[in-house]
């Protein structure tokens, strides 16, 4: 077939010229990008669109889930026995700690009541599965199988059994996107359990490493220190483990020490996480110690 023009579509019923279609759609794309960045109302349009994407995401997720289920149902007896023994041992240990914890909680509540403040404790939690869907290899984001219909909201804290996992960055109808604390765009206010030092832990893009860029060389921080969430910014409940300091480098000439920490949550191995609801602590307390640097707890989009 020999065509003489570049535009090789049929001459009859050709529709608008190629260049015009291109220009229109290009302008629409750019307008969409700007609107998506600037105006939260576009979230509703995205909501409808993600409803169309949901079946595809479930379809991709399903075979993996079925495989897990299959391997789970046909696990051999000795492995189950082994697992059972381990779990029993862990439960015994946990119960032991819980006995002490009950007394502590009671004491804590009494103390808090005195201050008329019982906020900051996770009140309700919802288990969400991480869907087997790859969003972007360069961003630490996961898709959770709970969305607006389950009451998930933007900025909600996500925890796993070992510590803080991340926060919800986008809410769709049946799904939600969570950003991990290790994402390079995420920052979380933390406090050292040992010295009480407050600072900010920033993600690095490596699931095993957080960076603490605002620690001065004189600061009281050493490897092995546990970093807890402070609850500042109202996104994360206070007092949950975030990371353990792995490295503190104090160069004599520098103002800030090079500090790295390893997240306690199993960021790259988790299959299930917890979405928590809690009453954020009352923010401006007159007698409160000076707040951590002003960087927000949240992540931009």
């Amino acid at each position: 077939m020999v065509e003489l023009t570049h535009d090789s579509r049929p001459i009859i019923g050709r529709g608008p010229p190629l260049g015009a279609t291109f220009l229109t759609l290009a302008i629409v794309s750019i307008a969409l990008m700007v609107a998506d960045q600037r105006y939260p109302q576009v979230g509703r349009v995205r909501g409808w669109l993600t409803a169309a994407a949901y079946p595809v995401q479930v379809g991709v997720d399903l075979p993996f889930r079925a495989w897990d289920w299959l391997t789970g149902s046909f696990a051999d007896r000795s492995r189950l026995r082994q697992e059972n023994l381990e779990l029993t041992a862990r439960l015994r240990l946990a119960n032991l700690q819980l006995q002490r914890f009950a007394a502590l909680e009671e004491e804590n509540r009494r103390l808090r009541d005195m201050r008329e403040n019982s906020a900051g404790v996770a009140e309700r939690a919802l288990v969400a599965s991480i869907m087997n869907v790859d969003l972007d290899p360069f961003r630490h984001r996961v898709l959770l199988d709970k969305g607006a219909v389950d009451g998930v909201f933007k900025g909600q804290a996500v925890l796993d059994a070992e510590g803080i996992f991340g926060q919800v960055s986008k809410v769709n109808v049946q799904t939600a996107e969570a950003i991990l604390i290790s994402d390079a765009e995420h920052a979380i206010p933390v406090q050292s359990n040992r010295s009480g030092l407050r600072t900010i832990a920033v993600g690095t893009g490596d699931p095993d490493r957080l960076s603490l860029p605002f620690v001065t060389t004189e600061a009281d921080l050493k490897p092995g220190d546990l970093l807890l969430s402070t609850g500042m910014g109202g996104v994360f409940p206070p007092g949950y483990p975030v990371a353990e300091v792995t490295r503190v480098d104090r160069a004599a000439s520098a103002t800030f020490a090079l500090v790295e920490a390893r997240p306690t949550a199993l960021l790259d191995r988790d299959r299930e996480v917890l979405l928590v609801w809690f009453t954020p602590p009352v923010a401006p307390e007159p007698a409160a110690p000076p707040a951590a640097p002003t960087a927000p707890a949240g992540a931009g989009e």
Partner: protein, 160 residues
Amino acid sequence: MRPSEFTRRILYWLSVAAGLVLAIVPLPDWLDPARPDLALLAVIYWILTSPRIAGLGYAWLSGLFLDVLRGMVLGQHALGFLVVAFLTHRLQLRMRMFPILHQAASVLLLLVLYHFIIFWTDGLTGHGYTGWDRWLPVLSGALLWPLIVAAGDTLTRRSR
């Protein structure tokens, strides 16, 4: 004889849709950064072989759906798909004549442009990732091009 226009249209839609699904299938970590843009390669292939069927609208919609699937800024991949589809339309008379390696090289250039658009909009929206491995899909896509052509030609011949 080539398959009817209707069959080819269906094949076009299905192959691009399959490429979109494969864009979010989990891959092992070492392979993940090099995931080829199969949907875009399918769009290029169909524009080259059936320019009367493969227009800009469906390419744009596919890109938009990819944005939604992967939770990106709306319109980012849509613009990338659109630009590549438009250029392929413009160049298709020439590109059809190229020997396969030459064709793979032009596909490489189109992919570079596509990823540059993604990279650029990423930077504008504050998601800049500047590692070298974000350009790996360009290479894997170009290397895969001869296979795509072979697979596509087999497919269209069989469904005659």
